[in-house]
Symmetry: C2
Subunit: 156 residues, 2 copies
């Protein structure tokens, strides 16, 4: 049964973190997203920022069924997007350029890129889309980390 | 054969995008990462910002083998992290709180959260880690998108 994006999927909240469980990727089309501006209800797309309290990025978890396609091109105002493909195969189109994508393909798109996506295969396509403000990352990964010297302890 | 993070995995570069192919998730441990500051060589972790030209986020693709654990706690200076688990199961520990993670679990961690991760299962654990500057997202997803009215056209 499809559930709205408002169904609570939070599993844990701490002072410095939040965690959710969306279910297996194969069940992502249980989620439906009402998009009144587009006069559409989208299945298989779940935005998770609201559940996690994300402040530097938005993330969507996506399942595009075999044979399905995003029915429009879109650009962005100020956000960079990264598409991380984690299962299946299909095609992306950016500024009129078409190329194959599959598990292990990752694509960065600047705000101005006009993009769309289709699954022209016989299997479902799974991808994660992340949005962050273009040009906003200031501190590099390894330099941003602060390693502790405390030994790691786990419950047995 | 393990390859360094400097091996070029770019597949395509356009004016408004970049694309890479990292190979199937199961082969992520082909990549090795030299970490002189930690006096370690890490297998199964690939940072992709440099290949894609990402400017608002850093992303790493990760495979943590069955029985393996991250051997230290770490915090961040200014970046928020999101861990997106896409296969297998294990445990996260944040500020001393331990909880199970598996395919479909997504965790947000504020810079101050002291975090580590282990794979205490019999299968490999796969996850994607995204860093973005804490508090930097200003434009919300749907409002940031600009939909085109042009009909979508694909080559046959």
């Amino acid at each position: 049964m499809p559930v709205n994006q408002t169904a609570d999927i939070r599993t844990r909240v701490g002072a410095n973190f939040g965690a959710i469980y969306t279910g297996p990727l194969a069940q992502l089309d249980d989620y439906k997203l009402e998009m009144p501006a587009l006069k559409r209800t989208v299945r298989g797309k779940l935005f998770i920022k609201q559940f996690l309290g994300l402040s530097g990025m938005q993330i969507s978890m996506n399942k595009l069924p075999a044979g399905a396609a995003v029915p429009f091109y879109h650009q962005h105002k100020e956000n960079e997007e990264a598409y991380i493909f984690v299962g299946g195969s299909g095609e992306m189109q950016i500024d009129g350029e078409v190329f194959a994508v599959e598990e292990g393909t990752i694509v960065r798109i600047s705000p101005a890129g006009s993009r769309t996506l289709r699954n022209n295969s016989d299997s479902d396509l799974y991808y994660i889309c992340v949005q962050a403000k273009d040009g906003s990352l200031q501190s590099e990964t390894l330099e941003d980390g602060i390693k502790s010297d405390a030994p790691v302890s786990w419950p047995t």
